[in-house]
């Protein structure tokens, strides 16, 4: 394989690297050991404080400075373009963070290259790179290669490669004097759930609350307040990540009874997120296909629903408990 690889990463304002970045470096390192011609690591934002010598790169480039610490398109794309031109790479891989995702396709347009995002695996076959990615919101899987267009730019999902172990610090070569023009100021980072963190991407457990929680129960009353208390209690005890079905979050915009901490950001499925957790527990949710596609990367799945014939029963969950979620979750919380 004669590809020259640029592993494009970003560091936060403290100079630390997150899990997805270390995994991407791990993947880049593997590709180098598979026989790529060269590996360059290019960092935007700040020179990483952590030692990443174990990735075995031939060169480390950084674009830093106050203007590049902020996560925004107009400056990040200038930095990425400079790193790519300096590295002269034919393949770029980067973690699928919100920061990278914002500009990586624009980078492909500037570099007259091609882009594939949300890649779930990169391998070498017969001396050529292949990438695995999904179409139609995780409903169709494909393995692809690119015949001619270079640079081939890819963002890689978290959880698809082993992270590198931190090692010795490396020597970073700075690229400076870049011309930037921006009208955008990043003001702040804002939590969306009234201060409670309920979305935890690094948790091992996804807990999905479906619309049934706010429907009339057996005694013909709506118990949204009790549902909210039970769910939050569970989420906080277990440090689980909270998700929801589309119908549940849509209730809010339609003015119906809702769980106050749920937003569209909690939505899992075809028009929501496709999170990666080891386990998933769905409650009061029917497991229809548009929702269940968001569970594509959840390995162990259980569901609690009153309908024995719901979508979960048809090969989408490992276990379906036909029961009242209020009663079960109350007991679960007692036992946790």
């Amino acid at each position: 394989m004669s590809e020259k690889i640029l592993c494009l990463i970003t560091a936060n304002t403290e100079g630390s690297l997150d899990k997805a970045t270390l995994e991407c470096l791990g993947l880049a390192s593997k590709l180098k050991s598979d026989g790529s011609a060269e590996l360059v690591v290019g960092c935007i934002g700040k020179e990483p404080a952590e030692g990443i010598s174990n990735c075995g790169a031939d060169k480390y480039l950084v674009v830093s400075g106050e203007a590049f610490e902020a996560s925004r398109y107009s400056t990040d794309i200038v930095a990425a373009q400079a790193l790519l031109e300096s590295a002269g790479s034919t393949v770029v891989i980067a973690p699928s963070s919100s920061r990278i995702q914002r500009f990586i396709s624009g980078l492909a347009a500037r570099a007259n290259g091609a882009v594939d995002t949300h890649v779930t695996g990169i391998d070498t076959e017969d001396g050529r790179l292949t990438a695995t990615r999904w179409f139609y919101r995780q409903r169709i899987e494909s393995k692809i290669s690119r015949k001619e267009v270079r640079p081939w730019i890819m963002s890689v999902e978290s959880g698809c490669a082993a992270a590198i172990e931190l090692g010795d610090s490396v020597s970073w070569e700075a690229i400076s004097d870049l011309e930037i023009a921006t009208n955008t100021t990043v003001k702040t980072i804002e939590a969306t759930s009234g201060g409670d963190q309920t979305i935890r991407p690094d948790s091992d457990l996804l807990f999905v609350a479906g619309a049934g929680w706010t429907k009339k129960q057996a005694d013909n009353s709506v118990k949204a307040d009790k549902a909210a208390a039970l769910i939050l209690d569970f989420i906080n005890r277990r440090k689980a990540s909270l998700g929801s079905s589309k119908s549940m979050v849509d209730l809010g915009s339609e003015g119906q009874a809702v769980l106050p901490f749920l937003t569209h950001l909690h939505q899992i499925g075809q028009t929501g997120a496709t999170p990666r957790h080891l386990k998933g527990l769905a409650t009061c949710c029917h497991g229809e296909e548009p929702h269940a596609v968001g569970w594509r990367f959840i390995k162990e799945r259980r569901a609690i629903n009153m309908d024995a014939n719901c979508g979960w029963a048809h090969g989408k969950a490992d276990v379906l408990y036909v029961a009242d979620a209020f009663e079960v979750m109350e007991k679960v919380n007692e036992k946790l």
Binding site: F135, E190, L265, Q270, G315, A317, Y321, A323
Partner: protein
């Protein structure tokens, strides 16, 4: 005095999410079985972008919305029968493949050409809207590429909130990791926003809006130019449905206490 904006919403059609999808080989590359027969909808995130655009027009009188769509004409016409009843817009149609297997750059080129061809569009007042991803390719690539082609470098993705202040000051909230928003301020047009879900419900069908829109939709469909959208240089090694199907154990007669015990044991494994 409210600002006046020219809002271009880019959005294509996708199979109705409730349809079963099966990939097949075709001379043009991978496609969906009976693709032309599958009921279609306007891409969900593009729909949100359209509703947000219409809401902004209400707040900024004199503004206007164009919906630019690359899709097979017959399918687009069907989808317009529904979408045209939602909010007022002027359709700019381009006849071309809307399959998720087609190359994003081709779609971006076709959209850029179509937008450049809008006669009364003032690009100094341009707000370029679209979905942050699609339910077909799902890559989030087209809007960024389109922005580059139209020299729009103030770009935002995963947008849920846009607040417009005086003198073209915009407050924009983008989704980032961990269920948080990055809050940005930007000034001046043009600006590109890749919308997530926003905060508006789907508008109810309004036959009067539908009749008004259809007067321009049908001529727009007749005028639609053709774009050659292909799979580019992608070599599809395999295209398949995920094979994972679970043997579901359905427990109908367990007590709540016994279920809780089992769940807690599972959670602690």
């Amino acid at each position: 005095m409210p600002n006046v904006y020219h809002i271009v919403v880019c959005g294509s059609i996708v199979p109705d999410p409730l349809q079963t999808l099966e990939p097949v080989e075709s001379p043009a590359g991978p496609s969906l079985k009976n693709e032309m027969m599958l009921p279609a909808v306007l891409d969900p995130w593009a729909s949100h972008a359209l509703y947000e655009a219409a809401e902004l027009v209400k707040k900024c009188p004199g503004s206007k919305v164009w919906l630019v769509s690359v899709a097979p004409k017959a399918k687009l016409q069907q989808v317009m029968m529904n979408i045209a009843q939602k909010v007022p817009f002027e359709l700019v149609a381009v006849e071309g493949a809307s399959s998720g297997f087609m190359e994003a750059a081709g779609t971006a080129n076709a959209l850029a050409t179509a937008i450049d061809g809008i006669a009364d569009l003032d690009k100094s007042r341009l707000l370029l809207f679209g979905g942050w991803e699609s339910a077909s390719r799902g890559a989030g690539a087209v809007m960024q590429m389109l922005g580059e082609k139209l020299h729009v470098t103030e770009q935002f993705q995963g947008v849920d909130v846009l607040e417009v202040g005086d003198d073209d000051q915009f407050l924009i909230k983008e989704r980032i990791e961990g269920g948080s928003y990055q809050v940005n301020e930007t000034s001046g047009c043009p600006v590109l926003l890749g919308w997530a879900t926003g905060n508006l419900p789907e508008p109810k069908n309004n036959p009067q809006v539908g009749m008004l829109n259809m007067r321009t939709v049908m001529p727009a469909l007749q005028r639609a130019t053709k774009a050659d959208i292909t799979t580019g240089d992608v070599d599809y090694k395999s295209v398949s449905l995920p094979k994972q199907k679970r043997e579901t154990r359905v427990e109908k007669n367990m007590s709540a206490d016994a279920i809780a015990d089992e769940i807690v044991t599972w959670l602690n494994e």
